[in-house]
Symmetry: C2
Subunit: 92 residues, 2 copies
DNA sequence: CAGCATCCCGAGCGATACTG
DNA sequence: CAGTATCGCTCGGGATGCTG
């Protein structure tokens, strides 16, 4: 899982999100990357996708139980890295 | 940090290791990847490199305090992934 | 609105060979 | 023993344009 996976997961940690919201909230992500990231996360069972047969179309994404477990064990690491970011020669 | 970074860090968690030991213990890593991984980890301050001016040359690697902190927050995630590996469509 | 298709480029990385 | 040098290919991922 890439950097984008972590960011999308973090965004969804706050609750259900629509495609457009994710696109806006996950800073710097392209449509292509958001799409493929979501497909991967869905395939891995971390997020659930719900499409509503409406016009205009509405699609919602939220974390599965597995996804919730994942961000819970991932959060300590992420915040630790965030805190230590200054001391570390950040890669990108 | 890549997959190799995690594996090398994990190997060093058990204590000081020499180049050859790491090469043998980190399964599947090439010399090039071990070299560049170690250089990155050293630059980021996670591992310390100690070269002894002997013949034949001997170089030892061990975790710094920062590196120890890192694997401590990383371990829960790694072991969680290891446990759930079956349920997840593993990528590579 | 929520995507998919295509082109393209550079970083990542494996294999192999060489060195102090 | 502990690396460095070079080649070549794969793949992430940005830009752009199209669709139901």
């Amino acid at each position: 899982m890439s950097k984008w996976g972590v960011l999308v997961l973090s965004a969804l940690a706050a609750g259900t999100k629509r495609w457009g919201e994710l696109r806006r909230e996950v800073d710097g992500i392209s449509e292509k990357m958001l799409a493929s990231t979501l497909r991967t996360l869905e395939a891995d069972g971390f997020v659930a996708r719900t499409a509503y047969p409406e016009v205009p179309p509405r699609v919602e994404y939220d974390l599965t139980d597995l996804g919730i477990e994942l961000i819970q064990v991932m959060m300590p690491l992420v915040s630790w890295i965030a805190q230590r970011a200054d001391e570390i020669v950040t890669d990108s």
